[in-house]
């Protein structure tokens, strides 16, 4: 499934789950910081993403739920390499961007969900 189709499906899912207009969903939209998704919303998003894309969804991984705790346990010189193991769907560039952005609030973006979906489509259920 190509990137445009994934985004199109995600827009429908966000419209359904969170009543967010499709026009507000862009690659760089923050899921929690801007769209104000709560834990119950994330649960619904996970279920709908799993169903729509026929993939197994590990909630903690797709939503970066334990990112801050994990970062606090990693030595500074190993952060990118260790985080790559935890979140193999995210590029090193994206992880570096996340580390810079952390202090501004929850870092999860729509493009991270797209990356997860693309990465897991090879292991479809």
């Amino acid at each position: 499934m190509d990137n445009e189709t994934i985004i199109s499906h995600l827009k429908s899912i966000f419209e359904e789950v969170m009543d967010v207009p499709a026009s507000e969903i862009k690659q760089d939209t923050f899921v929690i910081r801007e769209l104000e998704a709560e834990s119950i919303d994330l649960l619904e998003l996970a279920v709908d993403i799993s169903s729509t894309f026929s993939i197994e969804v590990e909630d903690d991984q797709i939503f970066l739920s334990h990112l801050r705790a994990q970062i606090s346990e990693i030595a500074p010189e190993n952060k990118i390499s260790k985080l790559t193991q935890c979140y193999p769907h995210l590029s090193q560039d994206r992880l570096a961007q996340i580390l810079t952005d952390l202090k501004e609030g929850p870092v999860l973006k729509i493009k991270d969900l797209i990356a997860y979906i693309e990465d897991n489509q090879n292991e479809s259920i």
């Binding site: 119950i40 649960l43 619904e44 279920v47 799993s50 169903s51």
Partner: protein, 244 residues
């Protein structure tokens, strides 16, 4: 009674116990589809000898987490959870490995089961999950400590589902029966005639519960009228726990 969920299909775990089988029959008469679970193929065959093609069957072994993935969860609008492995022993005599495995089966597996069931129900934005606990979690007899602890944990898991998912149309209830004239309660009581009489005298209604009464109460809890009984425990014990 009305049952309006789109998926009028109940998954009943622990299908071999008498109240579960009574419930299955009542629910079939009320127009439900039923799936009964057992922990092994022998249990499934025993159920099949009673219910034949009236119901479908699923293997659900609380000691094998992978059995959860074999179930098509999205088809169920209702879950009634009777299954509960046995391990009765004095606390100070318990085997640590067996205790650990017991809690894995009765608490961790149950948590995973609820996760799968609720995620399946979330697709349709409606669902009802009922946990069949026991007054043993309130009034503990010697030897029942682990059983009581695991039942109490199950109560809290189900209570949490009703709290977290209520606004998404998925509600929960916990039924806490007292002494039932069947199965585990009956085998416990049969050991001591004197104890049996003594016990009946302590119950304000003076008798044990019949399996059909449990089944009828559960059927009510599954109905549209009962959905506001959410994240709540109901005790059905003839008044045993309400008196000294």
């Amino acid at each position: 009674m009305k049952f309006s969920f789109k998926n009028k299909h109940i998954l009943i775990t622990g299908g071999s116990c008498e109240p579960a089988q009574k419930l299955a029959q009542l629910a079939l008469n009320a127009g439900f589809s039923i799936t009964l679970t057992a922990s092994n193929s022998h249990g499934i065959e025993k159920l099949r000898s009673t219910f034949s093609n009236q119901v479908t069957y699923a293997l659900l072994d609380f000691n094998q987490i992978e059995t959860l993935s074999k179930i098509q969860w999205k088809q169920y609008g209702y879950l009634v959870d009777f299954a509960h492995p046995e391990y009765e022993t004095l606390m100070a005599a318990s085997n640590i490995e067996k205790s650990s495995a017991y809690f894995n089966a009765t608490v961790s597996f149950r948590s995973a089961l609820l996760k799968e069931a609720v995620r399946g129900m979330l697709s349709n934005k409606e669902g009802r999950v009922i946990f069949i606990s026991s007054t043993a979690s309130t009034l503990i007899n010697p030897g029942q400590g682990l059983y009581a602890a695991s039942k109490a944990a199950g109560e809290k898991l189900y209570q949490s589902i009703g709290i977290e998912m209520g606004k998404k149309g998925i509600t929960s209830a916990i039924l806490q029966p007292g002494y039932i004239n069947s199965g585990r309660g009956q085998s416990y009581l049969a050991k001591d005639e004197q104890k049996l009489l003594e016990l009946k005298s302590r119950i304000p209604t003076g008798r044990f519960i019949e399996p059909i009464e449990i089944a009828e109460s559960i059927l009510f809890l599954l109905s549209d009228s009962a959905l506001q009984i959410n994240a709540t425990l109901l005790r059905m014990d003839g008044g045993l726990c309400s008196t000294k």
